[in-house]
């Protein structure tokens, strides 16, 4: 399906309004994870975010572990402010996924 609208010349906001009521992530009950998935690791809480992220990937049938460095930031706004420091009239685009 092709895009049905042309880009408006000036817009001010585009956040999925459904996000406002987006449910927060719910933990899988502990008893259903450990036995079912021996390698299961819960997403960390904000207070204990590690500075590395260990993930697994696949090369054919071979499962390998990769560790990525992670930079902790306080907030998304702080991150954007630092990255775009001093810049004005920025244009943003959000790819929603309803």
């Amino acid at each position: 399906m092709a895009c049905k609208c042309s880009l408006p010349p000036s817009v001010f906001l585009a956040l999925d309004p459904l996000m406002i009521n987006m449910p927060s992530w719910k933990r899988v009950p502990e008893e259903s994870t450990a036995a079912a998935r021996p390698n299961h690791r819960m997403l960390p809480e904000e207070q204990t975010l590690p500075h590395t992220l260990a993930v697994y990937t696949w090369d054919g049938d071979k499962k390998t572990k990769k560790t990525h460095s992670v930079l902790p930031v306080a907030s998304f706004s702080e991150f954007l402010t630092k990255h775009f420091a001093g810049r004005e009239n920025l244009r943003g685009f959000d790819f929603g996924a309803a």
């Binding site: 399906m1 092709a2 895009c3 609208c5 880009l7 408006p8 000036s10 817009v11 001010f12 906001l13 585009a14 956040l15 999925d16 309004p17 459904l18 996000m19 406002i20 987006m22 992530w25 998935r37 390698n39 299961h40 690791r41 819960m42 997403l43 904000e46 975010l49 992220l53 260990a54 993930v55 697994y56 990937t57 090369d59 499962k63 990525h68 460095s69 992670v70 930079l71 902790p72 930031v73 306080a74 907030s75 998304f76 706004s77 991150f79 954007l80 630092k82 990255h83 775009f84 420091a85 810049r87 920025l90 244009r91 943003g92 685009f93 959000d94 790819f95 929603g96 996924a97 309803a98």
Partner: protein
């Protein structure tokens, strides 16, 4: 009006017509478009492209399009759904039942990984998980990061 970042004029895109209609009723300028058919955006240039809770199988094509849209100093930011991030950490072979994990990491080559302590932006709980994938053609400014390979 709540904004994700007060310095950015934002445009949105959704594939679901009902979401688009609801958005316009609420005053949000969101366009209806199949995210797999976004070549028409190639002439659109912007500073910030965000993807919150994308379908994993859409990510490779969206990243490809976003990299064509983004200004050299711009930024692409991706936050996955909690269960998709969980699948990455656990090491499932496929995301979204269609996308091999290896293809996901290939699509995100050059991205950096950040962790966001505050998951809300204003009153909006935008982040379902603490991790954010970010990319800028000229590198992230204000940070020294190791990029994904």
């Amino acid at each position: 009006m709540t904004t994700i970042f007060s310095g950015v004029d934002y445009t949105g895109l959704e594939r679901d017509r009902l979401v688009v209609e609801n958005a316009w009723r609420l005053g949000f300028p969101v366009m209806e478009c199949d995210v797999q058919a976004v070549d028409s955006l190639d002439s659109f240039r912007c500073d910030l492209v965000t993807m919150f809770r994308p379908h994993p199988s859409d990510v490779p094509s969206l990243v490809s399009t976003a990299k064509r849209m983004i200004e050299p100093h711009g930024l692409i930011a991706i936050s996955l759904k909690a269960e998709d991030m969980q699948d990455l950490i656990v090491g499932k072979r496929f995301l979204d039942e269609r996308l091999p994990v290896a293809d996901f990491w290939t699509a995100l080559s050059g991205f950096s990984v950040l962790s966001i302590k505050e998951r809300c932006v204003g009153d909006l709980p935008l982040f379902e998980n603490p991790y954010l994938f970010a990319y800028s053609p000229r590198g992230l400014q204000g940070f020294e990061l190791i990029t994904l390979k």
